[in-house]
Amino acid sequence: MSETVHAEPPLIAGAAVRMEEDGRPTLIGSECADCATRIFPPTALCPECMGEEMSPVPLGRSGRLYSYCTVHVAPRGWSVPYIAGYVDLPEGVRVFTHVVDAAERQLSMEMEVELTTAILGTDGDGEAFSSYAFRPRQPVSDDA
């Protein structure tokens, strides 16, 4: 039986995230060649005009936190508690994400956040998995 050893926990976001050579992640959406609709995660069909010429498009690495909440109860596998959030990117795309490197009390609506990756849980075999996540762009203070 062969064993695969991951240097980094595998990313679960599939084509929606790309790791750059410098180790930083980029979120990948798609853009319609016919009507310029941008969508995340990427799709093969434009839901606005049914165009099939969808090109991968890298999305901005920072955005604003639209809302967030700490999740204490989740299906098996997720490391709880975690902070769930929606981040609005400059391209007009809203992304569901985990918010890391901060406690909920250190976050605020419309706060600037930036893309990173994080270990988010373990799969059925007990192996850690990771995905993209966002964190505050400015250092957060403990007494915030």
């Binding site: 679960i12 929606a16 609709t37 995340f40 839901p47 639209y66 809302s67 700490t70 929606y86 569901f96």
Partner: protein, 379 residues
């Protein structure tokens, strides 16, 4: 389209019944609705069964138990709106003249999944990234608190009111009264929600018999007219959306009021989809019971409690009566039918003439909700 009325209503007390099959949970509700209507089984021409997670042929399994077979049976899945959607399909068939009498069932057995949050569709991108229903509503609540100054205490009051009403309903899963302090001190689920901000998991069933008005007089059941039967799916948006207003309910309410020829000021009693405390407040506004941002005031003033201007969820709602997903829409209708007949005893809304049910749900990326069904009734 012909006028249609509900002539029979039945339900079983919601709760955890892990040792019963889906059919064993549902048949007493079906029998009660048929007996209430005073129809004989051969007069029921077709049946629709709403269930989200009941599995294949749920309607056939249930109707086998009551010996009502051979007729067309359609099973309907639309998440929390499953049985309200089933009702609408039955209404279309009767209003359109295809049948005179039809049966609607709503049923769910959530104990088969154990405890915890509702199992969502794993193919959905957000679900695969850790979205849960409490998290989705939690983010709505947090944004609403930020935008409109809603306080945690006000939010907790929704659950207190629900339990005050549910205590008066023998079909409610939870019949205990609770305090704001108890709500706020309960186990955290998804901020700002504790366990008591969230509807419980459970099993249950409800059923209705409907008939064309032209034949309703033949039966003993006291008819309650269906003024509007409305169903919408969510509008998929690729970009930003305002999470403090549920566009699917705003859109559906407008159409339902138009169809019924009434406005929100005419509604005497409503059953709305309070899966989480914040939801009830959002729906006061979306259904037009108050202006945007005024929901907490409406609640605090007692206007949505029994004795107020527009009592909401006299049954206890999803928070106290319970929320066996596929059974909920039909159970809301059972409550409104009983309210409009004046059969609700200690929780009766005096003089209620117009009642509304609102059932929405389905956590899918890019939608407020997958489905929303609104019905308006008059006695």
């Amino acid at each position: 389209m012909r006028d249609v009325s509900v002539i029979g209503a039945g339900m079983v007390r919601f709760g955890k019944q892990p040792d019963k099959t889906l059919a064993e949970i549902a048949w007493p509700a079906v029998k009660q609705a048929i007996d209430d209507a005073g129809v004989s089984k051969p007069e029921i021409e077709a049946a629709w069964c709403g269930t989200a997670l009941g599995g294949m042929m749920s309607g056939q399994r249930i109707l086998k138990a009551v010996g009502l077979t051979g007729l067309p049976i359609v099973n309907v899945e639309n998440a929390c709106s499953s049985s309200s959607s089933a009702f609408r399909e039955a209404w279309i068939a009767v209003a359109g003249g295809l049948y005179d009498v039809a049966l609607v069932i709503g049923v769910e057995k959530l104990t088969r999944f154990g405890g915890g949050t509702l199992p969502l569709e794993r193919e959905d991108f957000e679900v695969a990234h850790g979205m849960t229903m409490p998290a989705l509503y939690g983010m709505r609540a947090k944004r609403y608190m930020h935008d409109y100054g809603l306080t945690p205490e006000q939010l907790a009051m929704v659950a207190v009111k629900a339990h005050d009403h549910g205590a008066l309903n023998e079909d409610a899963q939870y019949r205990n009264r609770i305090t704001v302090d108890e709500v706020m001190a309960a186990r955290p689920i998804a901020d700002p929600f504790t366990l008591l901000h969230c509807c419980p998991s459970g099993d249950g069933a409800a059923a209705l018999v409907i008939a064309a008005d032209s034949v309703a007089g033949r039966y003993s059941g006291k008819p309650v007219r269906v003024l509007a039967s409305e169903l919408a799916s969510g509008k998929y948006m690729t970009g930003f959306r305002d999470m403090t207003t549920p566009e699917i309910t705003v859109r559906g309410a407008k159409k339902a009021y138009e169809m019924a020829g009434v406005g929100p000021e005419d509604v005497d009693v409503a059953e709305v989809h309070d899966a989480f405390t914040i939801a009830e407040l959002l729906y006061y506004e979306a259904l037009g019971f108050c202006e945007r941002g005024d929901a907490a005031g409406l609640l605090e003033d007692g206007e949505t409690s029994l004795g107020g201007r527009i009592p909401v969820n006299p049954s206890g709602g999803l928070l106290s009566k319970g929320h066996p997903i596929g059974a909920t829409g039909a159970a809301q209708m059972v409550e409104i039918v009983r309210q409009l007949r004046g059969e609700c005893g200690g929780r009766q809304v005096e003089g209620a003439r117009v009642g509304l049910t609102h059932c929405t749900g389905g956590g899918i990326s890019g939608f407020d909700h997958g489905a929303c069904s609104i019905h308006i009734f008059r006695n």
